[in-house]
């Protein structure tokens, strides 16, 4: 071989050397930083869920009229605010720099009573002294002249400009409750002569003329209390709540012909009086404010076959509450107290997110903007607009890891249910059921894998003949390379039905195999010496392979007979009917076997290394002193190798915890909390795989899934580090021996 060698000037060579040194160092450090980046990136995405809320004053708009406020609000972009006053006037205010002026919209009536819908419906209703009700709604038109967003406010009369007659007798209206949906509304009124009436208006689009045809029904509300403080209609127009002092009457108004008083409950906090009641978004919960500053959440709970109004949880505002404002879509609410504080709460999170003194004076009316990123408040004679930053109120440490009493549930529970078709859905983001699933899956996998892997490792390292070991070890290790998607597919489509059909056979295998080994060994020890010596030492494995095959075949062959004999022909039916245990086809047994199979090579390989690298002079010394091979193994070798074995189990556990495809395919992925071996589970990793692609970027759900990934990362990283550390220590110890 000829090679031309050129001697460049040494300066150039040294420069190259230097460049390479810096290049490689920079590259190496960069790669390592990139690996670190995973940790910090996950943390960075997760962190915002634990940030507190904040409120910042933005703008102040003076008010000119002396009328009380019916409703205030902001449109979606936080550019225009609006206010309905008791004079029947709707006025818009520009919140941007431009300070545009908008004309007011005035109802040509003398207002006697007024009410508003829930914030998301955004309508106000006015009653006059002739038994009519007028409905107004702010509308915002968005146009893009010159590619600039321009929002123009207008008013709309969704139920006609002429109003709706709600009292057939045409008497004046003293008190009004109003709620409306798409093409329907309900109004409860108390007239000046003390009658309580409910009116329901429904519109139907005529197929030919495209015009809306309205039909209205009236009925008397029976048994209304003499003094009514507050009336509330739920947005689904099925319930009417009437508060009289501390007592709340609930009416079923879903059918106008059959208005029914369902219950009367005392809803005040102990030794306190109720000051205000508000409907939480979704309208199955009531938020009740008391004069001692306690705020309670109530909803109907099914108990003993009856639905009963129950106090669910309480918050403390520490001072009497002027006004409760609920969010449009989430289960959060804000209150303004009479000592000038503004406070934010969230029911699912169960916590106060913020308490802040506002400098603009006491607030009397308060409303959220649609995206809950703004608050509009009315103080004495001005409107104040606040920017709110409160991205993830529903995710708190207690909501993630403790039992939470969700709306419609009979008791506090751990639930993972992240999405639903409805906007007003209460996300249930408890990590407990899926963490439980992870632990359960790992537990069953380890139950199966650890004994086999460790026993196999000990035999391979200590008893097996060297030539055989050279074949056996790589064969078992090749299992590790097997894609888990294949194991999962086999587990789900082959093993699960097989186990379901041959359950007695599977149980028989578990009993027959160990006993079979001992029986075979005993039989072998009774064989004539000539035959025994024909098999060289350390080849016993080969003798047992036919035993395994035979016993496996035998167990499955007798499985139908066993099933007939012990379970009356159908083991699955027997388990569900006689034992009362529900049976999933894709259950923990399947996962345990499949994932155990995936974990065995990891544990086997590391444990085998640990046992094999125990210095030979230790075991030889023990044998020389007269110990049997088994005694030497248990008393000397295993003890010495125990840190290595520990680290092997740790590594295996780390792998079982993070495995995705097998659990995804071999279980039903239902997040149940149950140790039963015949039921499935949902694990952290499978949960991420299932839900991540559908999750909205930046939402609480998205960040909680990142948190799940972060938990997995930290968990496995810690386990592996401990294992690796122990292993390195062990290596150092051996090298000194």
């Amino acid at each position: 071989m000829t090679q031309s060698v050129s001697f460049k000037s040494s300066g150039q060579r040294l420069l190259m050397d230097k460049l390479a040194r810096y290049g490689v160092s920079a590259g190496g450090v960069l790669v390592l930083i990139a690996l670190l980046l995973i940790f910090f990136y996950l943390l960075w995405v997760v962190a915002p869920v634990f940030y507190g809320a904040s409120v910042k004053h933005k703008q102040s708009i003076p008010l000119v009229d002396n009328h009380a406020t019916v409703m205030i609000g902001v449109e979606e972009q936080n550019e225009i605010a609006y206010r309905f006053n008791m004079g029947g006037e709707l006025r818009f205010f520009d919140l941007t720099e431009e300070q545009r002026f908008f004309p007011a919209h005035q109802l040509p009536i003398r207002v006697t009573a007024a009410d508003r819908t829930v914030p998301s419906r955004g309508m106000a209703a006015y009653a006059d002294s002739f038994g009519r009700v007028y409905v107004m709604a702010p509308k915002f038109k968005v146009t893009y002249p010159n590619d600039q967003r321009l929002i123009t406010p207008t008013v709309e009369y969704p139920f006609g400009e002429e109003g709706v007659m709600v009292d057939p007798e045409g008497k004046g209206i003293r008190q009004l409750a109003f709620e409306a949906g798409e093409g329907e509304m309900a109004v409860a009124v108390i007239t000046t002569d003390g009658r309580a009436l409910l009116t329901r208006l429904e519109g139907e689009v005529n197929m030919f003329t495209d015009e809306v045809e309205w039909s209205s029904d009236n009925a008397v509300i029976p048994g209304l209390p003499a003094f009514v403080d507050q009336m509330l209609i739920t947005p689904d127009l099925r319930r009417l709540f009437v508060r009289s002092g501390n007592r709340l009457s609930t009416y079923d108004i879903s059918s106008i012909g059959r208005i029914r008083l369902m219950s009367v409950d005392s809803i005040n906090y102990q030794d306190a009086n109720v000051t205000d009641v508000a409907l939480l978004t979704g309208a199955s919960s009531l938020i009740v404010a008391n004069d001692n500053g306690k705020i309670t959440q109530w909803f109907e709970v099914a108990k003993d076959g009856k639905r009963q109004f129950t106090q669910i949880r309480e918050f403390d505002a520490e001072s009497s509450v002027n006004e409760i404002a609920v969010e449009y879509f989430r289960k959060g609410f804000a209150v303004a107290t009479d000592d000038g504080y503004m406070e934010l709460f969230h029911t699912t999170g169960g916590s106060r997110l913020l308490k802040e003194k506002v400098d603009e004076g006491n607030t009397y009316t308060l409303a959220f903007s649609p995206r809950a990123n703004g608050l509009i408040a009315q103080t004495g004679n001005s409107l104040e607009f606040y920017k709110v930053s409160n991205e993830h109120p529903e995710v708190t440490w207690s909501a993630l890891w403790q039992k939470v009493w969700y709306e419609g549930y009979p008791e506090p529970q751990f639930v993972w249910q992240s999405t639903s078709a409805s906007d007003e859905f209460e996300p249930k983001l408890s990590l407990v059921p899926i963490s439980f699933g992870t632990v359960k899956a790992a537990f069953y996998a380890m139950l199966f894998a650890v004994p086999i892997a460790l026993a196999g490792a000990v035999y391979t390292a200590y008893f097996m003949s060297a030539p055989l070991r050279k074949i056996v070890k790589p064969t078992v290790e090749i299992m590790e390379a097997l894609p888990t998607v294949i194991l999962g597919f086999l587990a789900g489509l082959w093993l699960a039905p097989l186990i379901e059909d041959n359950l007695p056979g599977v149980i028989a295998t578990m009993i027959l195999l160990p006993t079979g080994f001992i029986a075979a060994a005993y039989g072998w020890s009774k064989m004539p010496k000539a035959i025994r010596q024909s098999v060289p030492e350390g080849w016993d494995v080969m003798l047992l392979i036919p035993v395994v095959l035979f016993l496996g075949w035998f167990s499955f062959a007798i499985s139908p007979t066993l099933e007939l004999w012990m379970f009356g022909g159908d083991a699955r039916l027997f388990i569900t009917n006689e034992l009362g245990i529900s049976f999933d086809q894709r259950n923990s047994l399947v996962v345990g076997l499949a994932m155990g199979f995936a974990v065995i090579p990891t544990i086997y390989s590391i444990a085998e290394d640990a046992v094999f690298s125990v210095p030979k002079h230790l075991s030889n010394g023990s044998l020389a002193l007269g110990a049997t091979p088994w005694q030497t193994l248990t008393k000397v070798v295993l003890l010495t190798a125990s840190p290595g074995i520990f680290s092997a189990v740790m590594m295996g556990l780390g792998r079982a915890v993070g495995e995705t495809m097998i659990v995804l395919m071999a279980t039903g992925n239902t997040p149940v909390m149950d140790w039963s071996i015949f039921q499935g589970m949902r694990t952290l990793s499978a949960n991420i795989a299932v839900e991540m692609p559908e999750s909205e970027v930046g939402s609480s759900h998205y960040r909680v899934l990142f948190l799940a990934a972060f938990v997995l990362f930290v968990f496995t990283f810690v386990f592996n580090t401990v294992a690796e550390f122990v292993r390195q220590r062990l290596r150092e110890k051996y090298s000194s021996l």
């Binding site: 980046l37 064969t475 993070g658």
Partner: protein, 551 residues
């Protein structure tokens, strides 16, 4: 006996049993996948059964798919009469009867006791179709361009195969036209639209440019019309001939040759023909596109996607891994910090792959991809270019996932090089870099190769992270095609592992798709085990080599 127990021998045997169990499990599993996967391509015999159920006689034509024993008791409980002499169990067969559009179920369980007669007539034909799965029946006649050729005139099926070959040829031509030429025209049109949008956004869409664009567009449209005409013509020609088949209901069904993929007579085949057919089916499986929601046809796009993504990943991971390993082993001092880093790197290999997927989705796809879109592809927003999962992000994610494998393997290779070699080089006056470049890296190259192969093997089998960063069940286009710039790294791709998951668990007809999943699994296992064996043998060779160097 007691003494035998005391000696500890039974426990030793128990440990030996664990090894035997593991061995049986590994080898059994591989055999299971191999047998089920390979049998898929074998032309299994087609039966014609006379069946009597609930007092009615009927004929069933189909392949036997599965069999099982059912306790008689369970059947009688379901109200099925079983003759007394049957004993405790009755055998039950699953038949694939095909003809999906004419019968309610294309799979049917039939009790052994219901079968009156079972024969394998020679002239039963299996027709593989583009849609609706297989068709089983008897060929009655062929129609060539309106002229009917009775069966008797074509005893060796020569004419049948001739017509089939003709229509297949035309079909392939039309597909190529559709995908390459018409697809190309559409791609050009889309690029024109984006260019126009870009000019519009930059406010330099002049009238000249508008006219230019219009002209190009007109031309492309004219091209398109010509191609379309050609396509319709090819399709018309392909549909010229028909096949008339009598099915198991006794009715004649006409199937156009343009709907037929393959025709064969499994009961007529001798062993040689069967083997040839097996290879033919295997090759079709590898080179064909999937059909019918992936439950039939081949897996070519999945193979292509897997290989393409893995190669891209290898290109990314090799330099990064090698540089990091060289830094750790040659440049970083041997102190506590380096040891910690080393442990951390090893542990990253144990971090669940789904975590890398989550990282890839958040960091690469949404953050990096989103920024790239905002900077370089504003014209196509809001539809994302790089801001959605794609093959580039998959390759990057898997590169990070496999980085520890390459680093660990390369470092091991570096540490096996005897220090005498290095010192020799340095003593002769070479700089450290020259020693590295001329001596150390060439000597460590087998180790680097091993690491790379292991990384590729791991990447090829990973599915969980890919589900988040770029894999789809059906990609309309490959990431590599004839349209400039040829490599489309932003595209989504298909993957063998995901194919298994998707077809096995998400497809509407799991029963029909199962053999295909086994075949795909076998393909994947073969590739991965092959790669691993290669890595092991390279590593062993390497160890032998340095053993001699040491002495």
């Amino acid at each position: 006996m007691n003494k035998w127990f005391k000696s500890g021998a039974p426990w030793i045997w128990m440990t030996a049993g664990a090894v035997s169990m593991s061995l049986v499990a590994v080898i059994g599993l591989l055999l299971l996948i191999a047998s089920r996967g390979l049998v898929y391509f074998w032309p299994s015999p087609v039966y014609e059964l006379t069946v009597e159920q609930f007092g009615e006689r009927g004929t069933i034509i189909g392949e036997r798919y599965d069999r099982e024993l059912v306790p008689t008791e369970r059947l009688t409980a379901q109200g099925i009469d079983i003759p007394e002499e049957q004993g405790d169990f009755v055998e039950r067969f699953l038949f694939k009867t095909g003809n999906r559009e004419f019968v309610p179920l294309d799979f049917r369980w039939i009790l052994e006791t219901d079968i009156v007669e079972s024969v394998q007539p020679k002239n039963i034909v299996v027709v593989e179709r583009l849609t609706n799965g297989n068709f089983y029946g008897y060929v009655e006649a062929l129609v060539r361009d309106g002229e009917t050729i009775p069966l008797a005139a074509d005893p060796e099926h020569d004419k049948l195969y001739e017509l089939l070959a003709r229509s297949r040829g035309l079909y392939d031509q039309s597909e190529r036209l559709l995908k390459r030429d018409i697809g190309g025209v559409n791609y050009q049109l889309e690029r024109l639209r984006l260019r126009e949008r870009k000019w519009e956004m930059n406010d330099n869409l002049t009238d000249v440019r508008v006219a230019e664009l219009e002209e190009r567009r007109e031309q492309l449209h004219a091209d398109y019309l010509v191609l379309e005409e050609e396509l319709f013509d090819l399709r018309r020609q392909a549909g010229r001939d028909q096949l008339i088949i009598r099915d198991m209901r006794g009715e004649s069904v006409t199937i156009g040759f343009d709907k037929v993929v393959d025709v064969f007579f499994p009961n007529e085949m001798h062993l040689g023909q069967k083997i040839a057919h097996w290879f033919h089916q295997l090759s079709k499986f590898i080179v064909d596109d999937p059909r019918e929601a992936n439950t039939e046809g081949g897996v070519f796009p999945a193979i292509f996607g897997t290989v393409f993504m893995v190669m891209l990943m290898a290109v990314i991971v090799t330099p990064l891994g090698v540089v990091a390993a060289i830094y750790l082993h040659e440049y970083a001092g041997n102190n506590a910090a380096t040891r910690m880093i080393r442990i951390a790197v090893i542990n990253l290999a144990g971090v669940p792959s789904i975590v890398y997927g989550v990282f890839g989705l958040g960091f690469f796809v949404y953050m990096l991809g989103g920024s790239i879109d905002a900077l370089f592809y504003p014209e196509s927003l809001p539809s994302p270019t790089f801001g959605s999962p794609g093959v580039l992000w998959s390759a990057l994610t898997l590169a990070i996932l496999t980085l520890p494998v390459v680093i660990v393997s390369t470092e091991e290779g570096l540490s096996r090089i005897p220090s005498a070699v290095r010192q020799g080089s340095l003593a002769l006056g070479a700089t450290k870099f020259e020693t590295l470049w001329r001596i150390v890296i060439p000597m460590a190259s087998p180790a680097i190769m091993t690491g790379l192969i292991l990384a590729v093997a791991r990447a090829a089998g990973e599915v969980a992270p890919l589900m988040l960063v770029g894999v789809v069940k059906l990609a309309p286009t490959l990431p590599l095609d004839g349209n400039f710039p040829y490599f489309h790294l932003e595209r989504k791709f298909m993957h063998l592992g995901f194919h298994i998951y998707d077809v096995g668990f998400q497809s509407p007809n799991v029963e029909a798709a199962r053999p295909l999943v086994y075949a795909t699994a076998f393909l994947l296992v073969t590739v991965i085990i092959g790669l691993n064996l290669a890595a092991i043998s390279i590593r062993n060779r390497l160890r032998e080599k340095f053993k001699t160097l040491d002495q």
